[in-house]
């Protein structure tokens, strides 16, 4: 269906269900309970899940398929954001033109960067993209201040021209909207002690994410995706068969740049502000972390990775010592203090430490990321079932093969 085989369609269906029902799924704990802090079902965080999901899906098209490790993708996200905010300032607060222009501008920028960077491969490619991203960051910070707002960044102001919008009532702040539906408007549903929030902005972002996820599946399964895998596995052989890898790689680069621009545009659509720190190289590093953590080269991996990292960032960083004490209060006092002290460096402000350790462990032991981990566990369970059901003779014969 939809040009997908059964397995992919099922995957798309599951992802669709999960994203559409996210306000329920991510809010399993009742309001006011001790576990309520693990709820991730608030609009701001859900928006971040899907937006960074898009960013990581796009990055995976480049890194996962062609093996080119870019350390400068945040630049495209930033450029997309700036383009979007200018559309909001000049044209209309409607998010559609902002997002489209963000994608187009980021795409054009990535054509330029990609054309130059792709003349080298391996670590040189990484450093070239890094250099371009840092240049963009530095320029956005300093000389381009008239366009980028420098350190303070940009927000839509009351007295911006906005050619298509009718003038605002005095004193009203402009809000991003989709044909009048404000991105900030939410519908809250209370069932018992549970509170579920359905946010317009989240659903817009989620639909866009599903579309880009679908597109990514199509790319993965297309002959074009096959060519990109060929680039990764052996460029020389590809050349000998008479194919030029360059255009394919550049196309992948531009596509992933456009995904990044799309993510940047959506970010602006959600919170209507931009600052240059979005383009700093550690932001590029973050998307690398997401993709690797989830599972590079897999379809669902980057989305999982983006979700995991953003969840850690927002939930783990909020745990403090008091909460820890309340968790371990059933232990004897000395032991409680010991455990709290031992855990403390890894939570709250120290969540980056946890992230770094988890990331290192994944790179060392699970190069395929969470997806590979899940497959291995599934494999273990399946094998157990099989060996349990089969006569011991065949189980013994297995190692001989």
């Amino acid at each position: 269906m939809l040009g997908l085989n059964k397995k992919d369609f099922l995957l798309l269906l599951i992802v669709t269900m999960l994203t559409m029902l996210a306000p329920f799924v991510l809010n399993p704990f009742p309001e006011g309970s001790a576990l309520a802090q693990f709820n991730a079902g608030y609009p701001d965080l859900m928006q971040r899940f899907v937006i960074f999901g898009i960013f990581a899906i796009g990055f995976n098209i480049l890194f996962g398929l062609t093996g080119y490790l870019s350390f400068g993708h945040a630049a495209f996200l930033g450029v997309g954001s700036y383009a979007a905010i200018w559309m909001m300032k000049l044209l209309t607060m409607n998010v559609i033109p902002a997002i489209i222009v963000a994608v187009v501008v980021a795409g054009l920028f990535s054509v330029v960067v990609g054309f130059i960077s792709l003349r080298r491969s391996g670590i040189y490619f990484s450093i070239l993209t890094l250099a371009f991203a840092m240049m963009s960051y530095q320029l956005a910070y300093s000389v381009l201040t008239p366009i980028t707002g420098g350190e303070t960044g940009l927000q839509p102001k009351v007295n911006d021209p906005r050619l298509l919008d009718s003038a605002l009532v005095d004193g009203a702040t402009p809000t991003a909207n989709l044909f009048g539906l404000s991105m900030r408007s939410s519908y809250e549903l209370e069932i018992g002690s549970w509170l579920f929030t359905f946010n317009a902005g989240y659903y817009v972002a989620a639909v866009v994410m599903l579309l880009s996820f679908y597109l990514a599946i199509r790319i993965f399964r297309s002959p074009f995706g096959m060519m990109l895998r060929a680039v990764k596995s052996n460029q020389n052989r590809m050349k000998y068969t008479g194919l030029n890898p360059k255009p394919y790689t550049l196309a992948a680069f531009v596509i992933s740049g456009m995904y990044a621009g799309l993510a940047g545009g959506l970010m602006v659509a959600m919170d209507s502000q931009v600052g240059p720190e979005r383009m700093f190289w550690t932001a590029s590093g973050e998307v690398v972390l997401m993709t690797i953590l989830g599972g590079v080269g897999t379809l669902i991996g980057p989305v999982l990775g983006a979700g995991a990292i953003k969840y850690m960032e927002n939930i783990i960083s909020k745990i403090n010592t008091e909460i820890l004490h309340s968790w371990f209060s059933f232990l004897p006092d000395g032991l409680e203090d010991l455990i709290v002290n031992l855990t403390y460096p890894f939570i709250g402000k120290g969540w980056h430490l946890t992230l770094g350790i988890v990331f290192m462990l994944v790179v060392i032991f699970l190069p395929g990321g969470l997806v590979e981990g899940a497959q291995r566990i599934a494999g273990l369970i399946r094998r157990k079932d099989k060996s349990g059901g089969m006569p011991p003779a065949s189980a013994k014969a297995e190692p001989a093969e």
Binding site: G67, L69, I116, R119, R120, S121, G122, I123, Y124, S126, I127, L128, L130, A131, F132, M134, M135, Q138, L139, Y141, S142, V143, L144, W281, T282, G285, V288, I292, P345, K349, G350, H352, L353, L355, G356, I357, F359, M360, V363, I364, P367
Partner: protein
């Protein structure tokens, strides 16, 4: 004219730091073939060695001073560093004042140990994996190291003063024939430059004139043959990793008075040092040093008012621009060997 010379001199200290970090990076790449993204973190840890030593030295206990009273008339309590008890007040205060230079002695064993542990514990397992994997795992390691430092020392920069004797500025202009006060340069930065030159010379001498260095160079040229000759090249390369870590650490120790150490200073320097290595040529030691100073001075010259007026923003991006141009026109770098990582 004075202005140009002044700007060139200003670029020296940053150039020295670039050169030292890049030297270690390229040493690791040349010997082990590993791209180490955690090298900036080693620089940062070096700077925190200086912080640690000055904290240890000023470790104090409270003593009641009978001769003085506080505003309530009670005897005044003063903090007396333990070091005063051991060496007496005069010598003790001199030792505290010289904490940063003394940290060099403290940092060398610490950094070599960290380097060796890093190589044996982690990097060793990544020789056979792709460069991308090496970048990723060392990037993760850099985050971890940085967060550990942040946990123990906090997120704020920690001021680490230089010895009083080196405060003030040196009047270069008066010496080389310009008017007094035309070309000024802080003493400490001059010392940093000199220190960097000594370290660079030491590393080169070590590689050039000792048997150990000769074996290492042979290993860099052809690892397999050296192994076939019955030499345990791995052990020596491990030690070279330790030395590279120590070079980065020493660069950090002496840089502490120039920029107050904070936990992310390593990341700030890392990107630029990588650019330096690439411009100099992957695996080329003289290239790294040359490119370090070249880019440091170029960056400084580009922030001249005339230049900035001509091309706005050039001072922010000059290093990256040079790197892009070099990579596209001469991928092996200024002094890289032909055929090393040229694709």
């Amino acid at each position: 004219m004075e202005v140009y010379i002044q700007q060139m001199v200003n670029g020296l200290d940053k150039g020295s730091a670039y050169a030292l970090i890049a030297l270690g990076l390229t040493l690791i790449f040349g010997t082990l073939g590993v791209v180490n993204f955690a090298h900036g973190a080693l620089f940062m840890i070096g700077a925190f060695c200086a912080v640690t030593l000055s904290r240890i030295l000023t470790f104090s206990h409270e003593v009641v001073d009978e001769t003085r009273t506080d505003f309530l008339g009670n005897p005044l309590k003063v903090d007396v560093p333990y070091i005063y008890d051991i060496f007496g007040e005069a010598t003790g205060s001199v030792i505290i004042d010289w904490a940063v230079p003394l940290s060099i002695l403290f940092a060398i064993p610490v950094m070599i140990a960290i380097g060796v542990i890093m190589e044996r514990g982690l990097i060793r397992h990544f020789y056979k994996r792709a460069h991308a994997d090496q970048i990723l795992v060392t990037f993760g390691l850099a985050i971890v190291l940085q967060e550990i430092i942040k946990y123990f020392y906090g997120a704020n920069p920690i001021q680490t003063p230089m010895p009083d004797a080196f405060e003030g500025v040196f009047d270069i202009g008066a010496i080389i024939g310009f008017g007094t006060g035309e070309i000024l340069y802080p003493y400490w930065r001059l010392i940093y430059f000199g220190f960097a030159m000594v370290i660079v010379a030491a590393v080169f001498a070590f590689l050039q004139f000792t048997t150990f260095g000769m074996v290492v160079r042979a290993g860099m040229a052809d690892r397999e043959t050296v192994g076939l000759l019955g030499i345990d090249i791995d052990k020596r390369f491990t030690l070279m990793f330790g030395i590279a870590a120590a070079v980065a650490g020493l660069a950090g120790v002496m840089y502490a008075p120039i920029v107050s150490p904070n936990y992310h200073m390593g990341m700030d320097f890392l990107v630029l040092s990588f650019v330096v290595v690439v411009v100099g040529g992957m695996g080329s030691l003289p290239g790294a040093v040359l490119a370090g100073f070249l880019l440091g001075i170029l960056e400084s010259l580009a922030s001249l008012q005339e230049v900035v007026a001509l091309v706005p923003g050039i001072n922010q991006v000059i290093i990256y621009l040079v790197a892009i141009i070099i990579l596209l026109t001469r991928p092996r770098g200024l002094m890289g060997r032909k055929g090393v990582m040229e694709d």
